[in-house]
Structure formats: structure tokens, C-alpha cells
């Protein structure tokens, strides 16, 4: 943790994206999290993903709740509006924001305490509604800011740093998201940037409720032997389903793959995800099969990662509500206020 201000100058030869921005233009304030925190790796992955997608930073809104994870939006996308709301209630604030302006990209950042404990209800309902967003849970299985209590995603039988055993069953947010109707569900690991960055890119491009559970070890309170959310444990028990190698816009597809190992998945907006299968029999479009695989692997002690489920034709909340194309925050009196004549009719009908 450092109090030094981040230098604004950067190397003139830094690569730029199509908008002319460097990766540095997507950074935020310097992190105040512990050195080595998995969350900082996720912030870096978000920066990389948005940079690679050539997105104008101000067209992204980043929202969070309360906790270590919810602090991170300060540390990326400094030119985006951010909203650090109240504990466990980011989903509702994001839902409202999304309704007000459907043209922005919404990034919800939360933690396991924020989403699986205090915010479990809002997490569930935002998925049910199909809000167009990327919802990332930075999952470390522990309360960091309050120094090491178990969270609702802590595995039964796992040990705290102080040696206590967790006796409660864990909440599996991936299974829940699947059950609740999320149209994009993935899990990754903060220590695996090559897997995580493409997943974030694909989630951002998805026009529906995209959920990413990112296991993110807490170096201060949950990286010891006996923890099931430590770097070592996650690496040893990781069961990767697939790798997302490329995501393109409507650009030409030029990469060759050995047939049978790669599945091109076209999303609704025309972008293509190239899914390199590591588990040949896994069908990423089969929600029920996904649930079964999750249960099977979990009971075998494995942590399933990769793109777990994808609905290529998602519908979002705006579609459900049949709202106009123009963002609500651009509508004026002309479109919104019915005027005196309409009121006179209402008066006449009320006598």
C-alpha cells in the first residue's frame, strides 16, 4: 500500500488502441489494497479487456457495493463515472442506472460478502431481470476489511487464518446465476490473466446479464494451508472447461485452428468468441448440462473455470419493458409531459 500519487506521464512508445488511448488511459487511482491482492490482478484484467475492446472509457459506468472488492473501481477506468453504493445493494443501483441510459456499458463489481451474504437477494433479482451488465464477483471467501471472518462462499470445512473451521455450507454463485437465468456465466481465477481477460471481454460484449465469479485469493487473511481460496489450492484444483482465445467485433476471421478443438460462437451483436475446448464433450449452450457438470466437479473437489454457459440470443430488461431506444436521460418535456390538453380530458373524465 502506498500513498504516492501515480505519475501521469508515460512512455511515448506505449501501444495505443483504435481510439488512440494507451492502456494507461484506462487506469485509475493507485490501489490501496494489500500488495499481492488478487483484486488488483482483476483490476488489471479489466483495464486490459477494455483497452483491447477499444471502448471509450467515459461510456462505461462502474458500480460497486462495500468491501475490498467494491473499493477497486477507484483503481481502474479513472475517466469513467463510478458509484460506490451501499453494502450488498449495487445490483439495484446498477439496474436503475441501466434503465436511465441504455447506451452505457455497466460494470458491476462486488465481492463474496457483498453479493453472497448481505446482497444475496439483490444478486438474485438482478440476474432474474436480465439487466445488461457485466457483474464480477471478486471472490476470496473472506471478509478482508473487517479482518478475516468467513464469508458465505467459504467452503464447509475450510479453515480460517486463526484456525477456526467453517461449518456452514457455501453459496455457489455460479450455480445460482445459472439457475436464476443469467445469460452469460463464467468463472475464472485472478492468477490466470490469459483466461480472465478474454472472459471479461466476452462478458462486456454480451447484451444481457453476464456473471463472472473470479476467485481472488486474499493474501492477508485467506491464503494459508487449509483455505480453499488460496493461490495454491485453486491452481491445484482448477478444472478448466475451455479457453476463450479471441473475441472480435465484426472483423475478418483470420486465425486457423485444428478442426474439432475450436468452436466459434457468434454473439447477438455479431462479435465472435472462439472457444478452445479443453473438455471436448462440454456444450456451453446447455444450461442444464452446465448445472450437472458444476455439481459433479464440485463433489469431486474441483473448481470449474472457463465460460460455463452462454445464451447467444439474450434478452435484457429493456427488451422486457419495451422501452424506447433513446436513453431516458435524454428525453425532454416534449416526450415526457403530456400537457394541458391531455389534463383537461382527465379532468373531464373525473367528474
Amino acid at each position: 500500500m502506498t500513498y504516492l500519487a501515480k505519475p501521469k506521464l508515460h512512455h511515448p512508445a506505449l501501444p495505443t488502441n483504435k481510439l488512440g488511448f494507451t492502456r494507461r488511459d484506462y487506469e485509475g487511482a493507485i490501489s490501496t489494497l494489500c500488495a499481492g491482492c488478487g483484486h488488483d490482478s482483476i483490476s488489471a484484467a479489466i483495464i486490459q479487456a477494455v483497452f483491447e475492446l477499444d471502448l471509450p472509457p467515459h461510456k462505461i459506468a462502474k458500480l460497486s457495493g462495500i468491501g475490498c472488492s467494491s473499493k477497486t473501481p477507484t483503481y481502474f477506468l479513472g475517466n469513467s463515472h463510478g458509484f460506490n453504493s451501499v453494502h450488498g445493494r449495487m445490483p439495484s443501483v446498477l439496474t436503475g442506472a441501466n434503465l436511465a441510459n441504455r447506451d452505457l456499458i455497466y460494470l458491476g463489481v462486488s465481492g463474496d460478502g457483498d453479493s453472497a451474504s448481505i446482497g444475496l437477494g439483490q444478486f438474485a433479482h438482478v440476474m432474474r431481470r436480465g439487466v445488461n451488465m457485466t457483474y464480477i464477483v471478486e471472490n476470496n471467501g473472506v471478509y478482508g476489511l473487517t479482518k478475516g471472518q468467513f464469508s458465505a462462499t467459504s467452503d464447509k470445512g475450510s479453515a480460517s487464518k486463526k484456525g477456526l473451521q467453517n461449518t456452514d455450507s457455501p453459496v455457489d454463485m455460479v450455480s445460482m446465476a445459472l439457475q436464476l437465468g443469467a445469460t452469460f456465466v463464467g468463472r475464472s481465477f485472478s492468477g490466470d490473466k490469459t483466461q480472465l481477460v478474454p472472459l471479461i471481454k466476452a462478458a462486456i460484449q454480451h447484451k444481457g446479464a453476464a456473471f463472472l465469479d473470479v476467485i481472488s485469493p486474499c493474501v492477508a487473511f485467506n491464503n494459508h494451508a487449509g483455505s480453499t481460496k488460496s493461490f495454491d489450492y485453486v491452481r491445484e484444483h482448477n478444472k478448466e472447461l475451455n479457453r476463450l482465445d479471441f473475441i472480435t467485433g465484426r472483423a475478418e476471421i483470420t486465425v486457423d485452428y485444428a478442426p474439432g478443438t475450436v468452436e466459434p460462437v457468434t454473439q447477438h451483436d455479431g462479435s465472435v468468441i472462439f472457444l478452445r475446448k479443453l473438455d471436448a464433450g462440454y456444450d456451453v449452450h446447455d444450461r442444464i448440462a452446465a448445472m450437472n457438470v458444476l455439481q459433479e466437479r464440485q463433489s469431486a473437489g474441483e473448481i470449474v473455470t472457463g465460460l460455463i454457459y452462454l445464451d447467444p440470443e439474450p434478452e435484457d430488461l429493456h427488451a422486457h419493458l419495451a422501452t424506447v431506444d433513446a436513453p431516458f436521460n435524454t428525453l425532454t418535456e416534449k416526450e415526457l409531459v403530456p400537457g394541458a390538453a391531455a389534463l383537461a380530458k382527465i379532468n373531464a373524465a373525473s367528474r
Binding site: P56, P57, H58, T95, N101, V324, E333
Partner: protein, 613 residues
């Protein structure tokens, strides 16, 4: 036997029914028929927290003089519910009338000898005519309306006209209903002495007023206020506000070219999510509101503090009911004043608007959005069940087509591009209100981080005391600014100079107007001030200062507005005399008159005691 009450166009008639028996629409038709005869009527639905089977009452204050408050007492009881017979009969004024279904003989002990009993064999008439059980039940309601129309000398054509209106589109129902009406009317005319001592006579005292409920009016106000996002959770007695918004939006807010909606209504999972969505939408530049009642306000506390401290607009309609806890969900109170004025932990203060009737529910409902965006803070519109869920005669809704939505201080892309300084919490105009930007305004300028934690003028996180103090002092300055923007109080001078005053607000208004007349008849003269908003403007302090004693009339136990007056204006509590009715029924003129007359009489002794001390 007491002398039967004789009265034309001034009386209270109360219908005692069973919830779910279909009586509501018949009773409403009866009320409307009186209105159509040019006589003001104010109905009040008194109903249980129940879907079917429990007792429900519909009380109508008929008053050519124009009194619209609950009066207290009943002149004609239409006793259709055996469950509540005893209490219904007991509530009739001496000399009053009891109308009942005389099909089954009742023991003499079930009646009173100081009232006039009018029996009509409603069940017998219906059973003779109809075979279907549901028809027998539904038409019984129309038959009693018919009988009453004869007993009260109402014009049959008026009721027939209303039946035609009600069943427009279902024309085949008109004829049987008109027939049922005449069965009752004819039976009464043939068998009873019509009219009674109490009766109606055509008048012209309704004028161009409209007959609407406050929740419906507030929902319409939200449409005119430019609200696009409504996030709500069902709770009595506020549900019909969200439903009215939905209904009006479907008619008034659909883009004719595409058929798409210029509104989004989300039934949230709870009140926390409702207010969260409102805050998210408002933060992002849309006008948004929620509608709730006391328990919802309790649940929203944390978010309300966020909106206050992060300065995000939000409009909350609170249709108050009896508290605390579940309290009396279907009864009225003004008991959320404190919990809204100071909602959330830490030092907070919020703007409250206090509408007196549906007309103000509409105007304040629309104005709340301008105020919330101008002040960048939550604004509460404090209805209650009495004005929210009952239809009331009110001045017609009005709108000036040249009016613009006041979007408040929002810095534009052009201003940012031109290099105008942006500090999210920087007081550039000296009114405590900073500029905000909508997300996505400018590629490199104007972005900031919104948070509930302390920050400096440029929205940067800080826990330094001087920055914290600077910020919360500015919030106080903003609250000062609010005093000039909220609707001012309305003063009424007594007919003769007096040192006594009264302050009241919201749904107390009509009962207060009547009480003032009664008190004046007794020689008690009061200047009054109807407070329409919090924070209180200077006129409120001046009014209190100009009177020796000020009665503060409220519908809660703890004299909540009086407490606000003492806290915010530093008024000596001894000068503010609480007049409180809080049993869940709407405050009555009788109660106010007696309570103030008593205390005014006691006060007359005071100067003597003062001399002694």
C-alpha cells in the same frame, strides 16, 4: 324517542358491508349520484387488512356547505353486515336512521328506541327475482341503492345515468342493473314513507371540481413531473399510486411512432431495491421515484442517507398508515414525519412536501422532481391513507404548457470542453448546491466517483476532519436554500384579532376548516397556518412568534411536526400545544373543536397563574 333528525344536504351516511361482497362499486355509484345532484360528498373507505369476509365500511359526508372532513357520528346507518350490527347500531346519532335488510325478523333488543328503523326485505326481493347466488349478492347492493334513492329523494335519472356510464362497453349489464335499482326504489316508495327527515335536494355546490383519489393524482403528477423510472414494492396504502402511474403511462407515454415505452416500471424485490433503483436512475440523469409506506421508509433508511450524502436526487411518495411496525396497515396516520425528515443514521435532513388533497398530490407530485433535481437530494411527498385511497372533491388539475422541467445544475459536455471548472461538491454559486455531471458526458473531464463515504470538494475520498466539516456545512447551506424553493405555508386570518394560532398540515385540512367555523361560533378565534413543506420557511417562525399559543394539530401520538418546529426553529415547546388524534381514523372536526375549545378555555386561566408565579 329522540326527535328524528331533519336535514337537507347535510348528513353522514355510513354503509356497513362485508369485504368482497361487491358493495364498493354500488356505494361509489351512490356517492357519485349525490355529486351529480350538485351536492358535495366526501366518501371514506374504512376497510380491514383482508381480502374477503371481514367488515368494511363506506362513510359519506354529505355537505352542501362544503365540509369534507370526517365529522364523527352517523346519521343514517345502512347496516348490511350482521357481524358488526351491534357496534353499527350503537354508532347512530340520537334521532338518526337505521336502514337494514328486514328479510329475517330481528329481536327488539337489537334495535334502539331513539332512532328511526327502516327495514327493506332486500334478500327476499333478490331471492324472488334471481336464482344465481352471486347475482343475488351483487344485485342486493343495487337494490339497496334504489331503496335509498327513494328514501333520500334522489333523482332516479341521475343513478340510471351512472349505471350506463359504469357499464359502458358491457351494455347488456345496464338493463338488469336499472331494473334492480327500480325494484328497490319501487318497494320503498310503495311501502315506506319517502322521503325521510334527511334528504337530498339538487344544488350547485360542486362546480368544476373533480372527484379523484390522492394516489391516482400523485401518480399522474409523476407523469407530468417527467418521471421515467418507477421502482416500487407493493404495500398498503401506496400500491394504487404505482398502479395509477402505470395506467397513465400506458395512455400518455407510449411513443406513437414505435409503440415503445417512455417509461420503465419495475416491481422490485423489496423496498431496499426500489430506492436503490431510484438512486441509480437519478444518478444517471433520469427522473425516478418510488412509492411506499412506513415499513418501506424504515427499510430504505441506509439508502436515503447515501442519497443525502452523495447528493443524488430521489423522489419518495410515502402514503402513511398507522405505525409503528406493521401497525394498522389500512388505517390512516401522519406518523412518518420524523422518520422521513431525519431518515438514516448520522446527521441528515430531508425535504418533505405535505399535500392536503388530490389537487396538491398532483402539483406536489410533479414539483417533487424539480425540487429533487434542483437540490440534488431526496424529496418525500407525504400523503396518507385518508387522502391517498379515498376519492375527494378537489380543484381540477392544471398545467402550464410553457413550464420546463428544472433539471438543476448539470454541467454539459460543452461547458466541460470549454474548460469550466468542475468540482462535484464545489459550491460555486453560494447556495450550497454544486454541479453534477451525468455519466458518459465527456471523454476526459467531469468523471467522478460517487460514494457514501466522506470526500472533498472534488469528490476525492478523504477522512480529514476539515474536509468533512466543510462538506456537511455546505449541506446545511443547501437545506437553507431549500426553504426558498419548497411550497410556502398558507395563512388564514381569524375573523377577529386573536393571540391564538393553529398549525396543521396534510389531510387534516378539511376537518380543520370545519373546526374553525365551529370554534368561531363558540367565540374561539384562531389564526391558522397550513404548513406545506419541510424545511420550514421564515413565515412559519413568524407565525409562531406572532401568537401567544399555537395549537399544532396532527394525526400521530408524539406530536412529530411540533417536535420538528421546536428542533428546527428553536421555538419554546410550551408555546406549541399539541392537538393529536391517532386512533387510525381520519381526524374529525368534532375532535379538533372540542380539544381546542378545552385547551383555549384552560389557557384563559393562565394569565392569572402567570401573575402568581
Amino acid at each position: 324517542m329522540a326527535k328524528p333528525i331533519e336535514s337537507v344536504n347535510e348528513f353522514v351516511i355510513k354503509f356497513a358491508n362485508v369485504n368482497g361482497s361487491g358493495s364498493a362499486s354500488a356505494n361509489q355509484m351512490f356517492a357519485k349520484a349525490i355529486l351529480r345532484m350538485g351536492v358535495p360528498v366526501t366518501p371514506r373507505n374504512i376497510f380491514p387488512s383482508n381480502i374477503q369476509g371481514l367488515p368494511t365500511w363506506y362513510e359519506m359526508r354529505v355537505s352542501e356547505a362544503g365540509y369534507m372532513g370526517a365529522r364523527g357520528g352517523v346519521d343514517i346507518m345502512v347496516a348490511m353486515n350482521p357481524q358488526t350490527w351491534d357496534q353499527d347500531v350503537a354508532s347512530i346519532e340520537p334521532g338518526g336512521y337505521l336502514f337494514y335488510d328486514s328479510t329475517k325478523p330481528m329481536p327488539r333488543s337489537k334495535f334502539r328506541n331513539d332512532i328511526t328503523v327502516v327495514g327493506v326485505p332486500l334478500t327476499e326481493i333478490c331471492n324472488r327475482e334471481y336464482t344465481d347466488a352471486r347475482q343475488r349478492q351483487l344485485f342486493k347492493n343495487i337494490v339497496y341503492v334504489g331503496a335509498l334513492s327513494a328514501l333520500l329523494d334522489m333523482e332516479a335519472a341521475v343513478v340510471e345515468g351512472l349505471i350506463s356510464e359504469q357499464f359502458r362497453g358491457k351494455e347488456k349489464l345496464i338493463e338488469p342493473n336499472v331494473k334492480a335499482l327500480h325494484m328497490g326504489r319501487d318497494w320503498a316508495q310503495k311501502n315506506l314513507q319517502c322521503p325521510l327527515g334527511i334528504r337530498l335536494r339538487r344544488a350547485d355546490k360542486v362546480g368544476d371540481r373533480i372527484f379523484v383519489d390522492g394516489n391516482g393524482a400523485a401518480g399522474l403528477g409523476a407523469v407530468y413531473g417527467g418521471a421515467t423510472v418507477c421502482a416500487w414494492y407493493p404495500i398498503t396504502p401506496s400500491t394504487s399510486l404505482a398502479e395509477a402511474f402505470t395506467r397513465h403511462c400506458r395512455k400518455l407515454r407510449v411513443d406513437p411512432a414505435t409503440g415503445k415505452n417512455r417509461f420503465a416500471i419495475v416491481q422490485a424485490e423489496d423496498e431496499l431495491a426500489s430506492i436503490g433503483m431510484v438512486i441509480g436512475a437519478s444518478w444517471n440523469g433520469a427522473r425516478a421515484f418510488t412509492t411506499t409506506s412506513g415499513p418501506g421508509i424504515s427499510l430504505m433508511q441506509e439508502f436515503l442517507g447515501l442519497a443525502y450524502f452523495a447528493e443524488v436526487p430521489a423522489v419518495v411518495f410515502d402514503v402513511q398508515r398507522g405505525g409503528p411496525s406493521t401497525g394498522m396497515p389500512t388505517r390512516t396516520q401522519q406518523s412518518d414525519i420524523m422518520s422521513c425528515a431525519y431518515a438514516s443514521h448520522g446527521d441528515t435532513k430531508h425535504v418533505l412536501l405535505l399535500p392536503e388533497d388530490p389537487h396538491e398530490c398532483f402539483t406536489m407530485g410533479a414539483q417533487a422532481f424539480d425540487l429533487a433535481e434542483r437540490l440534488q437530494t431526496p424529496v418525500f411527498v407525504m400523503l396518507d391513507l385518508d387522502i391517498g385511497m379515498n376519492e375527494r372533491l378537489a380543484a381540477p388539475f392544471a398545467w402550464d404548457d410553457s413550464r420546463k422541467l428544472d433539471r438543476g445544475k448539470v454541467m454539459t459536455e460543452a461547458e466541460l470542453e470549454a474548460g469550466k471548472e468542475f468540482g462535484r461538491y464545489l459550491d460555486v454559486d453560494g447556495d450550497g448546491i454544486p454541479y453534477r455531471t451525468y455519466p458518459g458526458t465527456h471523454p476526459t473531464r467531469g468523471a467522478f466517483f460517487t460514494r457514501g463515504s466522506s470526500k472533498d470538494r472534488y469528490a476525492k475520498y478523504t477522512e480529514e476532519g476539515r474536509h468533512y466539516v466543510d462538506n456537511v456545512q455546505r449541506l446545511l447551506k443547501k437545506f437553507e436554500t431549500a426553504k426558498q424553493l419548497v411550497p410556502g405555508p398558507i395563512a388564514r386570518q381569524a375573523r377577529q384579532p386573536t393571540r391564538l394560532g393553529a398549525i396543521f398540515y396534510g389531510s387534516t385540512s378539511p376537518a380543520m376548516a370545519e373546526a374553525l367555523d365551529r370554534l368561531a361560533e363558540q367565540g374561539v378565534h384562531l389564526d391558522t397556518l397550513r404548513v406545506r413543506a419541510f424545511p420550514f420557511s421564515r413565515e412559519v417562525e413568524e407565525f409562531v412568534a406572532a401568537h401567544d399559543r399555537v395549537f399544532v394539530v396532527e394525526q400521530n401520538r408524539d406530536a412529530q411536526l411540533r417536535a420538528l418546529l421546536t428542533i428546527e426553529c428553536g421555538i419554546d415547546p410550551a408555546r406549541l400545544v399539541p392537538i393529536l388524534q391517532f386512533d387510525g381514523s381520519p381526524i374529525t372536526a368534532r375532535f379538533i373543536t372540542e380539544a381546542i375549545a378545552d385547551k383555549a378555555a384552560a389557557a384563559k386561566v393562565m394569565p392569572f397563574r402567570k401573575v402568581v408565579s
